[in-house]
């Protein structure tokens, strides 16, 4: 028996919320199915749709704009983990069977023009579903679905042709080690920082009861029909969506799409994606050695590692404030000729303590105010120059 009432099937399409539970599907289909739905809704032939899926095996997903350099594709290949690029936003994510995916897709014209408001409106019903499934979740100020400080649902959103889709994953449990292993990171120290932050901020808190999937999907259907003023009813893909699905299956395994988001490689019609869009590779953020590598753990929580030839600065930023800063100098001791190794280590410890709790914007200034032209000042200024490499976009605002 369907958990959703059948009364909606007799309603006109514009009054229906089609609900499709795809169940367990291959990693590829766990992405392409909902993209096909988006194209069907965009065509106007399918009603607004709430869909669910669960992958049969682990894989890595990457957001539309993001660089494949952020993913350790060698490790993924060795582990047999496919990598798929989605048409919605966000960074690289590790996905597996312990995550129930949901997607809400509605015509773009029905989405309020203010992005943050649209996102909150379309994620709000998911929070109700979590709560119905026994998880005390909330939508926090950074637009994350959380229990306490821990993110229990990743999300991304995007306009796909004339439809808007917001996707999320109800995280039942999370394999932090496996997730970190799929990221390309400059060194083991940063890997350790990312792992620690993920353990602190991602996945349900210890002792959380197992999520009842049926309760979640049923409650989500109820919450979304109420929020959207529609009537939920079970449905299936249209023939047009099945045709989209075939094409998407080809596009999503195309190396050119995976590496750069260029759908042309699969000989796709131009309407599938803008074919001539330059995908900028933000070198500063992707640099493996030198420059700055940043990993967003959840809204408001980032791990960073900034490196110059002379120094390396690492740390975690929580709500715009630095935590657990680690500083070191590289190579020769030309910077600190008057300092013994022990004195240098003491100085670095003092500087790390000074950074604790500071905003990124003020951290470099604080370092530059240390000492007065001597060795200590040279060391601190060099580290300040390194911190200047950190891209503060989003980090200071807590996003």
């Amino acid at each position: 028996m369907h958990p959703w009432p059948l009364r909606g099937n007799r309603l006109p399409a514009e009054e229906r919320l089609r609900v499709i539970d795809f169940g367990y599907v291959s990693p590829l289909r766990s992405q392409t199915l909902w993209h096909a739905v988006a194209m069907g809704v965009s065509d106007g032939a399918a009603p607004p749709t709430l869909s669910f899926a669960r992958p049969t095996a682990p894989y890595v997903g990457i957001g539309y704009h993001r660089s494949l350099q952020e993913v350790d594709t060698d490790v993924c290949a060795a582990k047999g983990l496919p990598v798929y690029r989605r048409m919605v936003g966000g960074g690289p994510v590790y996905l597996d069977q312990n995550q129930l995916f949901f997607q809400i897709t509605i015509p773009a014209r029905q989405v309020v023009g203010v992005r943050s408001a649209a996102l909150r409106k379309l994620l709000g019903p998911a929070v109700a579903a979590f709560r119905a499934a026994g998880i005390d979740a909330q939508l926090d100020a950074a637009t994350e679905i959380v229990v306490g400080e821990r993110k229990v649902c990743g999300h991304g959103a995007g306009q796909i042709e004339e439809a808007v889709t917001v996707v999320g994953n109800c995280i039942e449990s999370f394999d932090h080690e496996e997730a970190v292993s799929t990221l390309r990171l400059p060194d083991d120290r940063m890997r350790s920082d990312v792992l620690a932050a993920m353990r602190s901020y991602v996945g349900p808190p210890e002792g959380t009861p197992a999520i009842d999937s049926t309760s979640f999907t049923h409650a989500a259907a109820g919450a979304y029909e109420k929020a959207l003023g529609l009537t939920a009813s079970p449905g299936q893909l249209t023939d047009a969506e099945l045709a989209h699905l075939d094409r998407l299956d080809d596009i999503f395994v195309s190396p050119r799409w995976i590496s750069s988001g260029d759908a042309e490689a699969a000989d796709e019609p131009a309407e599938v994606a803008a074919p001539d869009i330059r995908r900028y590779e933000p070198a500063r953020r992707d640099a493996v050695d030198g420059g700055c590598r940043q990993v967003k753990i959840r809204g408001g929580v980032y791990v960073f590692r900034a490196a110059t030839e002379a120094a390396v600065a690492r740390g975690t930023v929580v709500g715009g404030r630095i935590r657990h800063a680690k500083l070191r100098l590289r190579g020769s001791n030309a910077l600190q000729p008057d300092l013994e190794e022990g004195e240098l280590q003491n100085l670095l410890g003092v500087l790390e303590a000074k950074l604790e709790g500071l905003g990124l914007g003020e951290a470099a200034d604080v370092l530059r105010s240390v000492g007065a032209g001597g060795s200590e000042w040279r060391v601190a200024s060099t580290l300040a120059d390194t911190l200047d490499l950190v891209d503060r976009t989003g980090m200071e605002a807590g996003r």
Partner: protein, 160 residues
């Protein structure tokens, strides 16, 4: 000459043209004569202040490459804020001659300085026809912008 006025809490350039469909401003001064009639040359295009506000701080930006032919209402690029990817639609048809590498490198600048951080320069292919679709003229621009802000505020999705 630039003409800026504070309208409903936003710094608004009244001397520019605006495309309501794409939230983009268009500076046609490089290809219109003193009377505003179309000539040859290049237009400069950027995100308007309300487009910047409603998008949120941009984390990612992609733009069509120089040399690309774009058509009005077709894809010009895409932007991402709050993990939400959306299209940038071309306000005019034509050929891209330059993209702003600074905006690509630091998309957040578009949010903080939407007039100072232009996105693309384009040589229009049918400026005469496309101009008719843009909002132009000081009074018209002011009225149109006020109405947009009021609309969002009535919906409760934009702060007073």
């Amino acid at each position: 000459m630039t003409l800026t006025e504070r309208v409903k809490g936003y710094e608004l350039r009244l001397d520019l043209s605006y495309d309501p469909a794409s939230d983009l401003w268009v500076d046609t001064s490089g290809c219109t004569d003193a009377s505003g009639s179309p000539g040859s040359g290049v237009v400069v295009i950027g995100l308007d202040p309300l487009g910047a506000e409603t998008s949120g701080t941009l984390a990612q930006l992609s733009l069509a490459a120089p040399g690309a032919e774009v058509r009005r209402g077709g894809p010009l690029g895409s932007l991402e804020a709050e993990k939400f990817v959306g299209p940038l639609l071309a306000p005019l048809s034509g050929t891209l001659v330059e993209v702003n590498s600074e905006a690509l490198a630091q998309p957040a600048k578009v949010h903080h300085d939407p007039y100072g951080t232009w996105l693309v320069k384009l040589r229009p292919s049918d400026l005469g026809a496309d101009l008719d679709t843009l909002v132009r003229g000081e009074a018209t621009v002011r009225e149109w912008f006020e109405s947009r802000v009021d609309d969002y505020r009535r919906q409760g999705v934009l702060a007073e």
